[in-house]
Symmetry: D2
Subunit: 341 residues, 4 copies
Amino acid sequence: MLIILRETATDAQIDHVVQRVETLGLKAHLSRGTYRTVIGVIGDEEIIASAPLAAIPGVSEVVAVQPAFKLASKTAHPEPSIVSVGKGKTAAKFGGGHIGMIAGPCAIESAERLDEIAGAIKAAGATVLRGGAYKPRTSPYAFQGLGEEGLRILREVGDKHGLPVVTEAIDPRHVELVAEYSDMIQLGARNMQNFVLLTEVGKTDKPVLMKRGMAATVKDLMMSAEYVLSQGNPNVVLCERGVKGFDNACRNMFDVAAVPQVHELSHLPIIVDPSHATGRPELIPACALAGVAAGADGVHIEVHNLPEDAMSDGPQALLPEQYAELAAQIKKVAEAIGKTI
Amino acid sequence: MLIILRETATDAQIDHVVQRVETLGLKAHLSRGTYRTVIGVIGDEEIIASAPLAAIPGVSEVVAVQPAFKLASKTAHPEPSIVSVGKGKTAAKFGGGHIGMIAGPCAIESAERLDEIAGAIKAAGATVLRGGAYKPRTSPYAFQGLGEEGLRILREVGDKHGLPVVTEAIDPRHVELVAEYSDMIQLGARNMQNFVLLTEVGKTDKPVLMKRGMAATVKDLMMSAEYVLSQGNPNVVLCERGVKGFDNACRNMFDVAAVPQVHELSHLPIIVDPSHATGRPELIPACALAGVAAGADGVHIEVHNLPEDAMSDGPQALLPEQYAELAAQIKKVAEAIGKTI
Amino acid sequence: MLIILRETATDAQIDHVVQRVETLGLKAHLSRGTYRTVIGVIGDEEIIASAPLAAIPGVSEVVAVQPAFKLASKTAHPEPSIVSVGKGKTAAKFGGGHIGMIAGPCAIESAERLDEIAGAIKAAGATVLRGGAYKPRTSPYAFQGLGEEGLRILREVGDKHGLPVVTEAIDPRHVELVAEYSDMIQLGARNMQNFVLLTEVGKTDKPVLMKRGMAATVKDLMMSAEYVLSQGNPNVVLCERGVKGFDNACRNMFDVAAVPQVHELSHLPIIVDPSHATGRPELIPACALAGVAAGADGVHIEVHNLPEDAMSDGPQALLPEQYAELAAQIKKVAEAIGKTI
Amino acid sequence: MLIILRETATDAQIDHVVQRVETLGLKAHLSRGTYRTVIGVIGDEEIIASAPLAAIPGVSEVVAVQPAFKLASKTAHPEPSIVSVGKGKTAAKFGGGHIGMIAGPCAIESAERLDEIAGAIKAAGATVLRGGAYKPRTSPYAFQGLGEEGLRILREVGDKHGLPVVTEAIDPRHVELVAEYSDMIQLGARNMQNFVLLTEVGKTDKPVLMKRGMAATVKDLMMSAEYVLSQGNPNVVLCERGVKGFDNACRNMFDVAAVPQVHELSHLPIIVDPSHATGRPELIPACALAGVAAGADGVHIEVHNLPEDAMSDGPQALLPEQYAELAAQIKKVAEAIGKTI
């Protein structure tokens, strides 16, 4: 940590800063420049990170030199983590050269419909089936999901087609139930900083699919992963799904540079979700391929067999045949950069 | 709802759109232009809002002409709502010409410290005491609040100084407890779209302070208010506290135009929180005055008597004497636009 | 300047950084922490600012501790600058407690129409008449302004009503012409980083109204002011007119916090333009008052007597009677914070 | 164009809107819904686009159904345009399956250095040499480029290595000179809406490389291309180089989805510039490959043989050997999606 003092800082203020630092059990290393004094702070990183040093009179700025996340960092785990979802020979892998293929409808609507979609995506090469049983909807009047009945359908259909399943948890009181029925628990973008939910999910033994919040920086995403890891659950797969941008031609701004950034900072896998990132089917294939070429460890796509009849997010779903075509292209691009699905 | 078709839409596609609309029990009103056909959709607004019309082949765009919120709209309640917090003669009012003054530390740290701050802000003109017992922190390693012990302290100190109290709920399992100890429940920015929490808070009889999410549009904010209102709780006070912007010189971008926008759309009061919006004490007074001049129904300010020792957000707190000076200026600006505190 | 090295930086790399710094005639001050080495760089600020120190292998980050602008800073000129526009007793003042009131139509359309608008705004309290003769339009097919004929009309109408005039320059080849006809030269938002134009305008002796670019930080705005000042023209009035935001309910995001930020950093006056910031007449009064309460040194408002017939930006214009009402409110808020118009 | 009226619009207002529309020589097609009336406007698109219909009392919103650009649209030119840069067998191609490879230093610093870099990138597979002679710098005190001397060097070095050359024009008075020395004229991001410069460049017969502005939507970019095309110059290559985002870990937010969006809207080629988009060498390869996989018609990379000594943007340059490695990967990904360089 570096404390940069104001140009106008007095000697008394500088002494006071040094004293505060030392009171916290830390060491202060003073360096006087032409215009400003800089104090390097050395010692226990947790104490340093949580002390309100910027509030001390005379301080201009505090510059962190260590990331605030640890378990998620490469220092803790230099090799890329490989996260397995499901068991046995149908388990899907994310990271370390493996690309996981998650697909399925936004919401679970009925056993028949999910069965039909699952059969189609499995044939196209998907490795994990998705579907929401608890839906976070911006309107209180919109379809909120089938709840436990939806979980049951998802489990059955997944088992039938040999596809591990992922579904979203939105309530800390339902996390155990969701963990029981699913192979991977999704944390939605709107809940990326719902720390209560993160903590509950961190206590389960199921891999977690953590979607980036719409206003979250890549470091915010790492900090949220750290919440889950710090509870003892090491299996977190991050997901870039678009952030808020100023061009409303797309639902969100697809930040593909988040993929190499996460790979610089962390051992955790990161996948892309161009369905939510763009919200426009005609842009999804190009963005999916972009993500894979950038090194993404998986691709998450919403697929529906009758989008105009979907109970949630129909307008952004690909048809099964569009998904099959995309999956074939993903395979080629993955091979071009030396990866396998 | 208007459905704008693509230039390339075929007659068969247009017929199919009309048929879908009619299948939903709605009426379609066709209008053929030089380049495009537009279909006006008339009928039950809830059905219209939730149908995935944009997913029908041949459709270019769907334009909503009715807002998706109802109870929060001026149509439902043309006069500005006045929300009272606390009881009897110390109750604070927000809206309809009344400006509520919320102040206090970020986190409740101890009874002694809170008592000292409460005395100072009461003397300066504050009408509601704030303090966090459950803190949503970006790091799992940071101070998470005193929990129920904090609630107890807040209640006692508020009662002693004749100040109603507001504190944040972050867990649906604690909402009842928070409601028991406080006069107003805060929903934090990171939880503005935590619909599970919104629903629980909507079931209590305590007024709600709803902070705008960092990536939320004004309409998103209205929709989240609608969640609370739709549960039967009519007392929602909205709060502009800064949204994500590209200039990292400030913690957030203070969107003061949200104040007149909410007053255009809704009867609900809206206050401003320049502490979180700017994160810089030297900018807080100017932004607080800006909010009041723009018509805000209240001002939320973090105050601490020793910021360099605060357990959370110290660097953005005003000192009690700075708050007193600001409160006096707020009074003058409020009077200039015909309001009272 | 502080150079923060990577954790993995070798001794050879550190030596090389020190050597590069010394080769540039600067001094390096080494400080080794637990995890990282930090090098303070001392010497000629211009050399420091332009050296690509971040490109040296082993360097993690370079932190500037001095602002890159000088003439625009408070260090160069501690007291607020007062900029006078026009001559004699009708001169308008901006800064140092004076609030300048700029108003008029987006484009100059005809002598008759401008005359009518000018009479109305003068009566309402405006102190400067605006009107565009050269219009930067996003479409090549839109009305581009009357050119020199427009300048002539503006001059005549301004003189008739005793109002100094401001108009935009968009072409370096026309700057002299614009300077001849006007009392103040406007630099539009889209040209804030048109450095060629800035340099030409800096060579005139006319005050400059510099609008903030839609993607410019406050520091970028200061740097553009520095361009003008460095050419010898000391009279720059900055203008906050909204930046790009994610909520498209408004044309732009009105960043009122830019006002106190500029006052922290600089002696230059800063005004607000809520017409371009919001693009919605119903929001303009609230945002204008917000700007004044935040300390703005002036208010820029587009006024038109028949918006539905305007040749540019009609939908955001206030009617003369709306402007008169707003000007009266501005006066009250200005007095409440101890200022005069 | 659709005019959506307010719920509160009176019959007199509706009549007045219809009358305004008809006065402009357009036809109005009225459609009354349950809550609102909608008026379809039919007729000359240029008149429709420029009329201030939103300013008419009673109007809530105006929805455009035709894009405001024409020459740049697919309607005008359904097949992808192929833009050739340079002449004869060394000409580089962009679009229609061809990927152009632009590389070189940010600024031209000396003949020797440029010669060395040109040799290296040619060997690696670059097809166009870039280098700035006129540099738009945010600081007036920074290196502004070698001017005409730089143009001469660029021409000579390009000819020697058989590489067509591209360089930026920043002043309308120098466009002819730049056109004389170069094979392609660059319009920088800060000048994307410098309409005076766009018009001058549109009058030349040289292909134009148009960079997207930092606050420009994809439609804004199309409109700026339209400026050039409307002057008679059909050879425009667009370039995504990052837009303003809230995460300052990168210099800009790389909006890879702009690539398929442009391909949806236009026949013009679009390339990517990950150097300016990210500003961080370690992220450039991943983003370059992402752009190619998304369908980009070229890649623009800054390359320098001694970044720590560069006179501009050194910290974001790739070394020649890094560029060679990237170019080989680009080739593989291009082949995977059926393209050639």
